[in-house]
């Protein structure tokens, strides 16, 4: 099988980028999308050209490194999957695919398909944790947590920090990412003491990092590879409102 690729190439952060076209030939439908990119890159190398820079590590949908917009869709066509979990069997032989980096104000492009997502780390540093030092913990079973609550907390905690939600949002908002962490910790007894402070600090950091506002379109939920629910955004808004009132 073969595919025509239009790939975004950009030399550096300040450089102007443009699309370049490549023919990917001799492909197998069982190849992953990134394995195809490996083949393209080896060909470019053999031709003495610079390969396409793209981010990847685990190649099994959990590290959150991979990040490509394929034909306008962050992480490509498969629901609940990351870019590295897209296989060529999802495309037609001979199809043309446009491959771009995340595009969002808070995620500047560093090179080709690689962007700077450190804004996410800043949001977590502002309050996305429980303040407990090593050695201070009581016995793990001292505090029972209902099975359903634990499962719900896991659903929110499963976010991989990939940033597809931001890339999908017209406003470049990080609400889904932030709401997932606020809800994970805010739902558990361990997270209660800092619940109000946490949401205030994280939202402030999110605004400072240049993420846009949420206008309730939920494009984020549709592309999220871990199917994080947009309901968490409502929950975070309530937490935020309560905490803001308490603060007054």
């Amino acid at each position: 099988m073969k595919l025509h690729l239009r790939v975004w190439r950009q030399k550096g952060r300040e450089a102007e980028g443009q699309f370049e076209t490549y023919e990917a030939k001799g492909l197998n439908p069982n190849m992953s999308f990134l394995e195809m990119m490996d083949v393209v890159n080896d060909e470019l190398t053999k031709e003495g050209k610079e390969p396409v820079a793209f981010e990847h590590d685990c190649r099994e949908g959990i590290c959150g490194s991979c990040a490509m917009v394929i034909n306008g869709e962050p992480h490509g066509p498969n629901k609940g999957a990351t870019t590295c979990q897209v296989y060529l069997r999802s495309f037609q032989d001979g199809e043309t695919l446009t491959v771009e980096p995340w595009r969002a104000r808070a995620f500047p492009v560093l090179k080709d398909l690689v962007t700077d997502r450190s804004a996410f780390d800043k949001v977590i540093q502002a309050g996305g944790f429980v303040s407990v030092n090593t050695g201070q913990a009581p016995d793990a079973n001292a505090m029972p947590i209902g099975k359903e609550d634990a499962e719900k907390a896991f659903d929110a905690a499963h976010c991989i920090g990939c940033g597809a939600c931001v890339a999908a949002c017209r406003n470049g908002s990080a609400m889904l990412f932030v709401a997932a962490k606020v809800s994970h910790l805010g739902m558990l007894p361990q997270g209660q003491p800092e619940r109000g402070e946490r949401v205030r600090k994280m939202v402030a950091a999110m605004d400072a990092a240049g993420f846009g506002n949420c206008s309730n379109q939920y494009a984020c939920e549709a592309v999220c590879p871990k199917e994080i629910s947009a309901d968490w955004i409502g929950r975070m808004n309530r937490d935020y409102a309560v905490s803001a009132v308490k603060k007054l």
Binding site: V39, T45, K49, C63, G64, M143, P144
Partner: protein, 639 residues
Amino acid sequence: MKLDPRIPGGPLADKWTKFKTNVPLVTPANKRKYEVIVVGTGLAGASAAASLAELGYRVKSFCFQDSPRRAHSIAAQGGINAAKNYQNDGDSVKRLFHDTIKGGDFRSREANVYRLAEVSVNIIDQCVAQGVPFAREYGGMLANRSFGGAQVSRTFYARGATGQQLLLGAYQALSRQIGLGRVRMFPRHEMLDLVLDEGRAQGIITRNLVTGELTAHEADAVLLCTGGYGNAYYLSTYARGSNVTASWRAHRRGALFSNPCFTQIHPTCIPVSGEYQSKLTLMSESLRNDGRCWVPKSAGEKRSAAQIPEGERDYFLERLYPSYGNLAPRDIASRAAKRVCDEGRGVGPSGLGVYLDFSEAIGRLGESTVKERYANLFSMYHEITGESAYESPMRIFPAVHYTMGGLWVDYHLMSNIPGLFVLGEANFSDHGANRLGASALMQGLADGYFVLPYTIGDYLSKQKPGGKKTNRQAEAFWQATETVQARTKKLLGIRGTKPVSDFHRRLGKILWDQCGMSRTKKGLEQGVEEIRGLRQEFWENVNVPGSGEDLNQSLEKAGRVSDFLELGELMCRDALERDESCGCHFREDHQTAEGECERRDEKFSHVSAWEFQGEGKAEVRHAEPLSFEEVQLATRSYK
């Protein structure tokens, strides 16, 4: 060279308590004056960096990914062991200790393993306090599952993403310290050399992976928490970026490398499907709680799984190891799978696969329960293969998964270079010749949260903190920077005809064939020769495009593969010199009548520790004898 493991005296069960009571302390006011470098932000590195900063040390933390949260630990699936005995099924610190020593085929240090089992219970407490959403029972208590090599249920888990949840816990603790200004974080930085002064670790040289800038970082101690080297085999379950560079460059500066041939081949991975393949995907060991491994009884079977009647199936693990059944340890299960495939009874297009069948479990528990336990693994399997494991059995085959070998460390987790500590998968210490499932996460967090924060005090309390660099030290940093620059220049200057991946794939094939699940003297000798040839070809004909002054992923890969090409030879030599079989290391000439490992305790009850001698010179092998006070050396049996 005499290797002193510095194991405290006294009865095994009291050693750690005694150590903690007597270890010299650094006063809170003085802690601020010490700076510690932590390379790596996986479970070992993130937990160590956070804990040290909480204690008041100044910390610099490094990782090559764009965020510390993406370290390879994130991908661990199945679970983490701890001797909590919450199930009241007879577990104890002593039992976990015993299982681990036996699982490792008696090639690990008793004192380290006992301490690991001891602190395992604190890990679970700490993680729960951080908000890690472990699986729970309806009554609100923590749930457990069973893993290989154990007859109790002591594995804690968070669906199929235990590593992710534990790492996010540690990452959040680390983030808190970054926010407080106590840790300075350097993501997208790769350590390319270790700097010594008068034989002590003084700092590291890093390359900024975005700008290419080389920087010298000084510190009072350096911690390597840089993970395992299984990617030497090219195809493995590791993340693509996992590498040996940090450990290897330290090795070139004098740190001893122990047991490099001890590599774990995990029985349950999705089989290779083609030449283009870039990685192998693990199907967690937890699946063997309910999945049954089988192959057809006769060779050359052409029928599909469903068409093969019960009586013509060989549930080979249950047949061979009735008391552990499908939960036999990894090395044993992998070899059994290889053997049935060698007999021509393998399944799937390549014949390199066995079935992992859930139909009995679905019948017994109902599809919804099986779904609740394993849904994400089943959907991963479906995504990759296009097949549903609810309808037909999975096809699995062994793949490289973990490395028990690593830099030599003593009881303090310090290498033979004073001031250089090694934590997590990067050290050799706790798993002997085979690691039991769910024990790597335990070890990484034990090292980082509970061991190193104590042991480092012993070293630092005897050092004067930082201060101004002497001319001699400045010279050492300058010289190391030069070395790194020269290597980068050399790689970029070759402009040969073959991409890095070509060499990596070929190295992987040699290692898999000669230093994989079964090894022979002849094969290993051939491996050494082939790797030498390949290494020479690499330095003559690799093509690394681009420059050293910006983001250049080809250059990053080339540097890592150049180190694998040196390590690969040492792996073969280590396997060659260890003229016995033990755990993962199966020498065909040393097997029992039943085809199991035959150890030679009188000659090889020791840890190998290799010393670098300089470019192109043969490394020298040292040994640390292992003495067993508590356990009886015995032939491992899981029958």
